[in-house]
């Protein structure tokens, strides 16, 4: 697979590099489109503008407007059209402009995209990737900051993938596009501009594998997507309190890597699940319940959750009170019944 990319001056670049998640996602799209001409990108403003987050930057210029299509403003229409394109053998990658603006497409997603393979007894799998910038922390006004993963994870038939590192952004997006199952690919928009050193050729763990980002001996923070950096920061801060926290990045909510999560939790006996979306009915509820069911006799304390509050996403000047931060995570860690 080609991993070449042009730098500002138009030179092809390959190999290890430093870059942002946004650049890695852009490269993943470009490489996928180069490798497979059935890959088509469609969405709002994905053409000349390159998307409001510039993730599709330059794709129309390289592949033409048929391969990277500016659609009318209609999310159900975009996804519904992608369904028909996939039925005819294409591999559409749909961009939703923001988390909350994907909601008009939910009927197409829930009733058709998620079910088509099943309702046709495997005859019409839909290899569609739905990219959705999601979550808060960017000072966005109303309707631009929803962490919407639970809706998707609750719907059988969808894979739900959410990278938290630059390398994963590239590797998981490539794998999502290549998957014959529909993937909801949730891009933590507050991590778009974070830089990291990475090598596209190095590869990453596949969809469905959780990765231990930080080993530890006291307890584990189980998290994904936008909350990973917060958890790593909390783990660093916890050292001062005498805790050596492990951090597990789930990377994909569906399939959920129960084996890895259980292994870590059994070995440490204490776990906190962290996500920024509302706690009630959230992914953390499912994860905590499963970990409790499967690891009960290894637990020294109940599996706790640190999540956003059960409130509509707040105005930007208040969002820092809503989003789980280091202190809230450490408070939960303190409640893991350390005193024997």
């Amino acid at each position: 697979m080609s991993t070449a990319v042009r730098d500002q001056s138009g030179r092809e670049q390959s190999g290890p590099r430093t870059g942002t998640m946004a650049q890695a996602l852009n490269l993943a799209l470009r490489d996928a489109m180069r490798a497979d001409k059935t890959v088509h990108v469609l969405g709002e403003d994905v053409g000349a503008l390159g998307g409001v987050f510039r993730i599709t930057d330059g794709l129309t210029a390289e592949f033409g407007p048929d391969r990277c299509l500016d659609t009318p403003l209609a999310e159900a229409g975009i996804l519904g059209t992608a369904v028909g394109m996939a039925m005819y053998g294409l591999r559409p990658v749909v961009e939703m402009q923001f988390d909350a603006f994907a909601y008009p497409a939910l009927e197409q997603l829930f009733s058709h995209v998620a079910k088509m393979r099943n309702r046709t007894a495997g005859k019409l799998p839909l290899p569609i990737t739905v990219r959705i910038p999601y979550g808060g922390g960017i000072g966005g006004v109303e309707h631009h900051s929803d962490a919407s993963e639970a809706y998707y994870a609750h719907t059988p038939g969808l894979h739900v993938v959410t990278p938290a590192t630059v390398a994963d952004a590239y590797g998981l997006l490539r794998e999502s596009i290549a998957s014959d199952d529909p993937v909801v690919f949730l891009e933590p928009k507050r991590l778009y501009w974070g830089k990291d050193g990475w090598d596209p050729a190095a590869g990453v763990e596949p969809i469905g594998k959780a990765v231990l980002r930080r080993p530890g001996s006291s307890a584990v923070l189980v998290t994904y997507g936008p909350s990973l950096p917060v958890c790593l920061e909390a783990a660093e801060a916890a050292r001062a309190e005498g805790w050596d926290l492990a951090v597990l990045d789930l990377r994909t909510l569906v399939p959920f890597d129960e084996a890895t999560a259980c292994e870590v939790v059994r070995s440490l006996g204490r776990a906190v699940v962290v996500h920024e979306s509302a706690g009630f009915g959230g992914a953390g509820a499912e994860i905590a319940a499963r970990l409790t069911e499967k690891c009960f006799h290894h637990l020294a304390a109940p599996v706790l959750r640190v999540t956003g509050f059960d409130v509509p996403y707040p105005p930007p000047m208040l969002e820092h009170h809503h989003l789980p931060g280091v202190d809230r995570i450490l408070d939960a860690v303190a409640r893991l019944q350390w005193e024997e």
Partner: protein
């Protein structure tokens, strides 16, 4: 190059876009539907029509009527879970199937099993959704017939996307989406038609306007002059046709399919028709419509209209009538025979085809069901 216009050229992004520009970007006049619905039977068009086409339409309409009767009977016998009959709409159903060529795709709704059968899908396979044993009983790819669609109008953008992909591939494929009058109020209808027009996709939309969405009459559904007029707002032609005139529907659809095939873009066709039966066997139509209305439509019956036309041309001979009746009875007999027994179902198939590969959680749940089944078998075995 691209199938889309002007996109790479920022100067021409919107041709003529200057302050004070007021001229319509397309001339609406040719898009407008004719004031009267197109009719062919009982006109000179029927006299000019290919006799074999008329005979074929007749045989299929007679079989279609019998199919509807038989399916309704099967619901009364508990052999079908539910059946939305297309009795009275057979002309639309049959003409839709006949207007398509093998490479074209049909996107039917729940009411369109007759169109699916007329396309050549086995009736048993076409009816699994309504029997309750499988969501889709046929291979959509092999039959180029999408699954029967229940969420209203959601099949519309699918047809557009498939047609668009076919056009990008340079293939000679047209998509035909079927829906009802009520479905035209859904957002997906609007989004689908707008996409179709913008993408210039080779797709045809056939709205079978039977006057009602379950109990709600068209007057509560839309204030548009006709549903065909909606096309104009999208920049595609709207066509109005007598939906009980099989030849007229066939002509209008054939023309629209040909137009799509030759690069002319999408067409919206509104066929005026009536469902003689209730919405489904579970519905009570006497609560919302008058018997005299039903009688008026019975007098404008699609089978009778065709019979009259055939008689007028001296084509309704004993042979044809006998052949049609015979084919209809054969179809009904096959349905009775095939639906006589309960299907054998594998409970473990619940877990098939959720994903390409089952997740760990699905494997565990499959194990749970297998254990439940084994325990059940043991109890029954004892």
């Amino acid at each position: 190059m691209t199938v889309l216009d002007h996109r790479n050229d920022p100067v021409a992004a919107v041709p003529g876009w200057r302050p004070g520009a007021t001229a319509p970007r397309t001339d609406p006049a040719p898009l407008l539907p004719d004031p009267e619905p197109h009719r062919a039977l009982g006109t000179g068009a029927a006299d000019a029509a290919d006799p074999e086409l008329l005979r074929e339409l007749y045989r299929r309409l007679v079989a279609g009527r019998r199919y509807n009767q038989q399916a309704t009977t099967l619901t009364k016998q508990g052999r079908l879970a539910v059946y939305p009959a297309s009795t009275g709409q057979e002309a639309c159903q049959v003409a839709a199937a006949l207007a398509l060529r093998p490479q074209d795709w049909l996107f039917p709704s729940y009411r369109d099993t007759l169109a699916v059968v007329a396309r050549g899908v086995d009736p048993l396979q076409a009816l699994t959704l309504l029997r309750g044993d499988a969501h889709t009983g046929y291979d959509p790819r092999a039959t180029r017939t999408a699954p029967l669609c229940t969420p209203l109008a959601t099949q519309v953008p699918h047809a557009v996307g498939l047609a668009h992909a076919a056009r990008l591939a340079g293939d000679d494929t047209v998509a035909l989406a079927l829906l009802g009058d009520g479905g035209t109020s859904e957002g997906d209808f609007h989004e689908g038609l707008n996409f179709a027009a913008v993408l210039h996709a080779p797709v045809v939309f056939l709205v079978q306007n039977n006057g009602y969405a379950i109990s709600v009459p068209l007057t509560r559904q839309s204030a548009a002059p006709t549903l065909a007029h909606k096309a104009v707002g999208y920049g595609m032609p709207g066509r109005l046709v007598d939906g009980n005139d099989a030849l007229a529907v066939h002509q209008v659809l054939t023309e629209a399919v040909e137009r799509a095939r030759t690069g002319g873009g999408p067409t919206l066709v509104e066929a005026l028709t009536y469902r003689i039966e209730a919405h489904t066997n579970a519905d009570d139509a006497t609560r919302y419509r008058q018997a005299e209305e039903v009688d008026a439509w019975r007098a404008h019956d699609p089978v009778r209209l065709l019979e009259d036309a055939l008689r007028g041309r001296g084509l309704l001979d004993e042979q044809l009538v006998a052949d049609a009746a015979d084919q209809a009875e054969q179809l009904a007999a096959r349905m009775r025979a095939e639906f006589h027994t309960d299907p054998e179902l594998d409970p473990m198939s619940l877990f098939a085809h959720v994903y390409a590969e089952p997740t760990q959680q699905l494997r565990e749940q499959a194990g749970q069901l297998a254990a439940e089944l084994a325990a059940e078998a043991e109890v029954h075995g004892r």
